[in-house]
């Protein structure tokens, strides 16, 4: 009787182990599948004109304007989100100890972190795109600026959270030492705390950049897209994910091939960014120990 119980328990255990290994294989299989398709289909469409010609030429063109647009939008997004995010994160870590607002904002920031990006895009559409319509006599004015702000809203919670976490890792003795020398708190924060948490904060910014460079949904109704090269942030602006979206819907297989090539470039860029962020982070961890 006890032997059979033992066997039953062993079988159960083996089944569970097998299930767990199979589950891991499923996860890895899908990763390999997606990466493989992006790689093989993307490399097939990769050619020099991808980087030199614009989308106006369709099949004979490339994605140059989309890449430039993406770059501008991402830089705008990071430039807007970084000062605000670092400031907000600093307030959460250093100033909100005694207030009830602090934990609440930290909590809401975590929600904003995974809020649907398409709704944030609609928010920017409502407060930036629509009001600028009144300034220009009735045309709906999609713009690079609106796109940049939409991306900033997505980058913001990432930067807030990493800044907050990194600052809380800075040892309290550092604060006490500085305060005991009579350093005012703003100086302590700017010159000692933020500086000593710098590599962690940079990691957060890189992660935020990786996150926003793949975003499509909020750009559809903010930056909108443009078949020509533009450097003017008040103009409609194309972006790589948005062009991939349009080109994927296109019935022409040649255009689809271009979409795959764009997908390959985008994926490599995003994965390289998160790799760099991770490497930077692991180094910062070592230096803190």
């Amino acid at each position: 009787m006890s032997a059979s119980l033992y066997t039953r328990r062993r079988i159960k255990n083996i089944l569970a182990m097998a299930f767990s290994i199979v589950a891991t294989c499923i996860g890895l299989l899908f990763l390999a599948w997606i990466l493989w398709e992006t790689l093989s289909q993307g490399l097939a469409g990769l050619k020099p004109q991808l980087f030199t010609k614009i989308t106006a030429y369709r099949e004979e063109g490339g994605l140059a304007n989309a890449m430039v647009g993406s770059l501008i939008l991402n830089v705008l997004g990071i430039l807007i989100a970084t000062p605000i995010g670092v400031a907000a994160g600093t307030w959460l870590a250093e100033y909100s100890r005694r207030s009830k607002l602090g934990p609440m904002i930290r909590f809401l920031n975590d929600i904003l972190l995974s809020a649907p990006s398409i709704v944030l895009g609609l928010f920017v559409y409502t407060v930036i795109v629509l009001p600028s319509k009144w300034l220009t006599n009735g045309d709906v004015t999609f713009s690079g600026i609106a796109g940049g702000i939409a991306l900033a809203l997505i980058a913001l919670p990432v930067i807030v959270r990493t800044t907050d976490e990194m600052l809380r890792l800075v040892p309290g003795t550092l604060r006490e030492a500085a305060l005991s020398l009579g350093v005012p708190q703003w100086k302590l924060t700017m010159q000692i705390l933020v500086r000593s948490a710098r590599s962690g904060i940079v990691t957060g910014i890189l992660l935020a950049l990786a996150r926003i460079s793949g975003e499509t949904a909020p750009l559809l109704f903010t930056a909108f897209g443009n078949n020509f090269m533009t450097f003017n942030p008040i103009d409609k602006m194309p972006s790589l994910p948005q062009v991939i979206y349009e080109y994927t819907k296109d019935p022409s297989p040649d255009i689809n091939t271009l979409a795959w090539a764009g997908a390959f470039v985008l994926t490599m860029f995003v994965l390289a960014l998160s790799l760099i962020a991770r490497l930077a982070f692991s180094r910062s961890k070592v230096s803190h120990d």
């Binding site: 909590f107 809020a115 398409i118 609609l122 793949g214």
Partner: protein, 343 residues
Amino acid sequence: MHATVSNAVPDQERQAEASRNARDTRNDRLFGWALKACALLVLLCLVGAAASTLWLGRDAFATFGWGFLTSAVWDPSNNQYGALVPVVGTVGTAIIALIFAVPVSFGIALFLTEIAPGWMRGPVSSAIELLAGIPSIIYGMWGLFIFAPFVAENVKPWLMNNFSADPPDGKVSWLVQHVPFIAKFFSSEYPFFGAGVLTAGLVLAVMIIPFISSVMREVFQTVPTRLKESAYALGSSTWEVVWDIVVPYTRTAVIGGVFLGLGRALGETMAVAFVIGNTFKFTPSLLETGSTIASTIANQFGEAEGLQKSALMAIAFLLFVVTFIVLMIARLMLRRLASKEGN
């Protein structure tokens, strides 16, 4: 003023110090206010997103009233809009995604914390997290060009042969003859078409696996080793330790992680937009095409005018409220674990 040497007048020195103190206090206060204003922007974003969609959606809510939530008609040509089909599609795809993603994520977390040899854990968990780094538009492309045809060729025929009332091979299965309603869930007008609710749910499942599994792995690691080792010492098997010690200890946080994945799945746009089909027929079938809130907005917002735009804003508001609640539950459950960790 700073050059206060021993022969300076003590009174002057005190005055200088006082003015510097005053200046520092003022600067400190300004600095604190500036930081606080930035932190309040986070709050503003959330409130603004809810308020702006509600404001622009007011026409739709006013025109259709409560019927907006229960009407299954979404017909731009007749200017009639109801949220039921996109809402059901959103919830349905998210639930399908959870049904597949939760067990797989649990398996992955179990593998990474209890089974895998030490050298394997780092690389495997980084690989799974890589899955989270892939932009959602890539999931959408892969879903449309690769996965949907795969479903149409391999998964759908099998499901229809076994569960639908008019299977391609002509033999109605025993299950369909004896279990009522089951055929309704697996009927399909276009058997060779890969897009549909099930396909969208599966793509979402792949997307949220890394989120759920990384939360599960993290919370499994918070279980005190002493607790687990005591159970092993009493002769428990690995599975018994996991099921009777680790899971009960971390239950709340595990559910929190699942809700986090649910929040992601509800709001996802690009991975779904290509593979759901974007049709507005109300059907219980998993193999039929449908639509989600996010895919509807992505598809129609560009050309929408007037009441249609308002209706899109209204469903965006519904989406925002639902994901907000789901994510709030997730964070509350995860937070309880964080306080437990401290003890």
